[in-house]
């Protein structure tokens, strides 16, 4: 009962440590710090349990080993070892304040071992996890068994005392420690919501194996233990019997020797008397020697004279076995003493006879009756048994035929039941003792009785009893039984651990390794190699898996090669669909290149003359890659060409193409495209942009710049899109460079894009090259930038040259449709130009407002039929930092400057809506002039920046 306190304390500590670890910031402590703290705590509990136990044979029965076991098994190996050492050292020094010296070494060592055992098993068997409660209990039991064996081993010189201690302490200590560890583990399992019931479905090999191995080991243990018990029990009985027999035989031979000698002496004296005087009265001899019978037998065995009158001349000694023995014996020897036995003539009478041969032939026989016999021997018997010991505390007692004790103490003459021996049937009938009997024999020193084993033997009318306390008799048996059962526990536990770890190493770990590798293969890494070579079976398994993977890889590679080949064909077909007869006429030149990436892509370019004076050219990019993209490209190309050749406007071509491409576009592909249709006579280009990169435009006298207009939505992206046409007028010598996103999005190894800026810079530096040189040079530049990185996307480039001729050398010009919708383009153009002159934002805004006002005027009023253009030329004088804007249109002549200024002082009600635009223009610009020349309205404005 006293042991419950430390068991509870241990459980509470487990609970507290577990909760602290799980629910408080202590989680963040480094692993070893935590282990040390836990180790110290459990060490203290171990020390406490050490003192708080039950006193037993000068030392304490306790549950000290539970704490290191708990610490080690539940919380971690270092904690177990630390607390084991603390508990062990405490136990070692506890002898100075009352701990048992007797088991000092064994107990200290056992506790330290408990710590190591918990640590080792946790690492070795449980993958550094907490074991289940069943294993916890088993480990605690094994640990205590080791403890007991250590007590045995360290006290070999006083094994009976050690055995006494072990016998008493084993059960409570094993139960106590096992309970403490088991309960602790159950508590933690409950807290961590582990299910006790076995999981359904497949189970880990390790678990199945562990359970069956445990079962086998337990069964084997029980069988060997039972066998050992039976064997030791048998050996112990035999040994005890031998001890008894030798004691009894000693006494027997003493008694028989004494009685034989005495009677023979008498027989010789009687013979002497008889031979001296053959007529002597035999009856006189009876009195003289204290005997009861004298017979004179002739050489034939006939009794010729006797004190028993009825046998004279009537009884032949050969008649009965008892008397015949004398006749037979005395033929070869001179004298013979027979054991105390029933008389031949009358078996109800017991006699002891001795006979001596007569000189004249025949022999003379004398006999004792029981009274004379025992009278003579009792004293001797007492002497013989007095100091005789059987074993250490066993004894030999003798009683007479009536089972009254022949002894020299207070029990002398008493019936043996007085000392506690209740005669069994065999004894009452004077038969031979066939087994070991039990009796509670009175203890002479203490009041009470001690359970003895005894045997008996009837000799010469006496019953010799040899007895020994059962404890003593069975000491050796129990000692060897305990030792062997303990050793078996150890051996089987070691066997279990060994086989388990072996199987784990040889099979389970290898299986796991193979599984992990297979997992990686399944995830797609076909280059992983299974390499488990620890034994032949796994080697062959590894080889099989590897060859399977290799075969698989080969098939995949073959399939890939086939697809590559098909893609190559597709690429060829795709390329052959692109026009390569580049026109080099006087009016225009076109040159294009397409560099497909490894896979078939969806880029294409196209150009064709629609009639004598118009030529169409475009660049497009189908989303995605591969065969679908290539097929979609072919479709798109054909549709656009068909529509273009039907004479539609460029925006209508896109609008219509979009509708057609949207039909049955299940795969959700789309196309970006830029298409221009040039009127060779005017240089006017109508263009449309469906989500495509802005072309780069070079005016004959200017630099390259992006033709950035608001792009429409991609083709085939959504039904019902309407595309707008843009318009520029090319002057002789202007070039338009079209490209796909493969150019600006070419990516190098550092994931940097080639970019529009780099493209523009390259174009400005090399813009004077002829297209057939320029495009390869650009490709080379891109390749240089990309470096080792693979070409990810198709690269398509198309250069359109409008035949050169001299133009205005001082100003850059741009033609805009005279429509409100073009306003954004106009303003973008102005802003871009101003930015190149580093114009301040404030001025830029003012200029934009002025340009807007003029342009809106032109757009609204210049062309009565609504169709027309405005040309905006911008010049910059670097010395004066004056910008000149020249806006010309071919509309009705109109001088906006003539219109009177509005009255800006009027109130809101009176102010007219209108007239403000030109007013603002005049206010913000430095100078504004109007001229009408060559049927053109020309408005010139300057502004200093």
């Amino acid at each position: 009962m006293r042991l419950i306190v430390p068991i509870l304390l241990n459980c509470i500590l487990v609970l507290v440590v577990y909760l602290l670890d799980k629910y408080t910031p202590s989680k963040k402590l480094p692993y070893f710090a935590k282990q040390v703290i836990i180790g110290l705590c459990f060490g203290c509990v171990s020390a406490f349990a050490s003192s708080y136990g039950v006193q037993w044979l000068g030392t304490t029965v306790n549950v000290r080993d539970a704490a290191p076991l708990c610490a080690g098994l539940i919380f971690g190996a270092p904690a177990g070892i630390i607390s084991g050492f603390i508990g062990g050292l405490y136990r070692w020094f506890s002898v100075y304040w009352g701990g048992g010296l007797y088991t000092q070494f064994a107990c200290s060592l056992a506790t330290i071992l408990a710590g190591f055992m918990a640590a080792g098993l946790r690492k070795l068997m449980f993958d550094n996890k907490k074991p289940t409660w069943g294993y916890g209990i088993c480990i605690a039991v094994v640990c205590e068994v080791i403890h007991m064996i250590l007590i045995f081993l360290t006290n070999m010189d006083n094994s009976s005392y050690a055995f006494e201690f072990v016998k008493g302490a084993t059960i409570p200590m094993i139960l106590g420690n096992a309970a403490a560890v088991g309960i602790a583990i159950i508590i933690v399992s409950l807290l961590s919501n582990e299910r006790f019931s076995r999981k359904k479905g497949s189970e880990r090999i390790a678990n199945t194996f562990q359970r069956w191995l445990l079962l086998c080991i337990v069964v084997a243990y029980l069988i060997t233990s039972t066998f050992t018990f039976i064997l030791q029990n048998g050996i112990a009985s035999i040994e005890t019997k031998e001890v008894f027999t030798s004691a009894i035989n000693d006494v027997e031979s003493d008694v028989r020797g004494k009685s034989n000698a005495q009677l023979l002496e008498i027989a010789k004296k009687v013979k002497e008397d008889y031979e001296n005087d053959p007529t002597i009265s035999l009856d006189a001899l009876l009195d003289k020697y204290g005997i009861v019978e004298v017979n004179v037998v002739d050489s034939d065995g006939l009794i010729i004279n006797s004190t028993e009158l009825d046998v004279i001349g009537d009884y032949n000694m050969n008649e009965k076995d008892q008397s015949k023995e004398f006749v037979d014996k005395l033929k070869t020897q001179n004298e013979f003493v027979q054991d105390y036995s029933p008389r031949g003539k009358d078996e109800s009478v017991w006699r002891k006879y001795a006979a001596v041969n007569l000189t004249a032939g025949g022999f003379i026989q004398v006999g004792y009756g029981p009274e004379q016999f025992h009278e003579m021997l009792n004293e001797f018997v007492v002497d013989v048994t007095k100091n005789r010991h059987v074993g250490t505390s066993g004894f030999v007692a003798v009683c007479d035929e009536k089972l009254n004790l022949v002894i020299d103490n207070e029990y002398s003459g008493s019936h043996i039941s007085k000392i506690g021996i209740v005669p069994e049937e065999e004894m009452l009938n004077g038969k031979e003792c066939s087994k070991l009997y039990n009796a509670d024999i009175v203890d002479g020193v203490n009041d009470g009785s001690i359970n003895h084993l005894y045997v008996f033997k009837f000799v010469e009318g006496y019953c010799i009893i040899a007895a020994m306390p059962e404890d003593e008799a069975m000491f050796m048996r129990d000692a060897s039984l305990y030792t062997s059962i303990f050793m078996q526990v150890l051996i089987f536990a070691a066997l279990f651990i060994f086989i388990y770890v072996l199987i784990k190493r040889v099979i389970i770990n290898n299986l796991k390794k193979i599984n992990d590798t297979l997992g990686r293969i399944t995830e797609g890494d076909l280059n992983v190699v299974v390499d488990v070579r620890s034994n032949e079976e796994f080697s062959s398994l590894s080889d099989d898996i590897n060859s399977t993977v290799t075969t698989l890889k080969r098939f995949i590679a073959e399939a890939a090669a086939r697809i590559d080949k098909e893609l190559e064909y597709a690429k060829q077909i795709q390329l052959s669909a692109l026009p390569t007869n580049f026109p080099e006429g006087e009016d225009y030149k076109i040159y294009a290149e397409m560099m497909a990436a490894k896979e078939v892509g969806g880029d294409f370019y196209d150009f064709y003359k629609l009639n004598d004076t118009t030529v169409a050219f475009l660049v497009a990019d189908v989303s995605g890659k591969g065969i679908p993209a290539a097929m979609f490209m072919m479709t798109a190309k054909t549709i656009i060409k068909d529509l273009a050749e039907s004479g539609m406007a460029v925006n209508d071509i896109f609008t219509k193409a979009n509708e057609k491409l949207c039909e049955n576009n299940e795969s959700g592909m789309f196309v970006t495209a830029w298409m221009g249709i040039l009127d060779l006579t005017t240089g006017n280009v109508q263009y449309a942009n469906a989500g495509h990169n802005p072309p780069v435009l070079k005016r004959a006298d200017g630099s390259f710049e992006y033709l950035k207009t608001r792009a429409g939505f991609v083709l085939a992206g959504m039904e019902g899109i309407r595309y707008r046409a843009g318009e520029i007028t090319l002057n002789p010598g202007d070039r338009i460079f079209l490209y796909t996103d493969g150019v600006p999005e070419a990516t190098n190894a550092e994931n940097k894009l080639y970019g529009e800026e780099r493209l523009l810079t390259f174009m400005n530096q090399n813009g004077s090259m002829v297209a057939t040189d320029l495009l390869p040079a650009l490709k080379a530049n891109i390749d240089e930038f990309v470096g080792e990185a693979p070409q990810f996307d198709d690269i398509t480039m198309l250069m359109f040259d409008f035949k050169p001729s001299k133009g205005d050398e001082h100003m850059t010009s741009k033609v805009f449709p005279a429509k409100i919708e073009s306003l954004t383009d106009v303003l973008s153009y102005v802003e871009e130009t101003l930015e190149t002159y580093e114009c301040p934002m404030k001025v830029q805004m003012a200029v934009c407002v002025a340009i807007e006002e003029v342009f809106v005027n032109v757009a609204n009023y210049a062309y009565q039929d609504g169709e027309g253009h405005m040309t905006l030329s911008i010049g910059f004088n670097e010395e004066t930092r004056d910008i000149t804007f020249r806006m010309s249109d071919k509309g009705v002549p109109f001088d906006p400057l003539k219109k009177p200024d509005p009255d800006i002082t009027l109130s809101a009600e009176d102010r007219e809506i209108g007239g403000l635009g030109i007013f603002i223009t005049k206010k913000t610009m430095d100078s504004v002039t109007y001229a009408y020349e060559n049927e053109e309205n020309i408005l010139t404005m300057t502004k200093k920046i």
């Binding site: 409100i820 919708e821 306003l823 954004t824 303003l827 404030k842 805004m845 003012a846 934009c848 407002v849 807007e852 006002e853 809106v856 800006i904 002082t905 009027l906 109130s907 809101a908 009600e909 102010r911 809506i913 209108g914 403000l916 635009g917 007013f919 603002i920 206010k923 913000t924």
Partner: protein, 98 residues
């Protein structure tokens, strides 16, 4: 240009961000004439408006005319560049600018 309308208990706030030019002005005109409903107090928040041309001015003038008949209109958060245009054209005197 983006236009956002916010209403609270007493006034309707129209936030204008971007360029108010010939192309975008009709959108604001539509907002003021149709979308804001019959509010009495209109506030034009032009904090994000960096550009205005005569078309924009015309819309503002129209709005001012409309609102001063039924309630009030004010223009808030006018940036410097736009303020210059307002001053140049006399709109600084017509509009209630805060």
């Amino acid at each position: 240009m983006t236009i956002e309308i916010k209403k609270n208990a007493t006034e309707t706030i129209v936030e204008i961000v971007g360029r108010l030019d010939t192309i975008t002005a009709p959108a604001l005109d539509k907002t003021i004439n149709e979308d804001i409903g019959d509010t009495k107090n209109l506030v034009l928040d032009v904090k994000g408006m960096e550009y205005i041309s005569s078309a924009g001015l015309r819309v503002l003038l129209g709005a001012q005319k409309k609102m001063q008949k039924i309630g009030s209109m004010k223009v808030v958060n006018v940036c410097e560049d736009v303020m210059e245009v307002f001053e140049m054209t006399g709109f600084a005197d017509i509009l209630v600018i805060e």
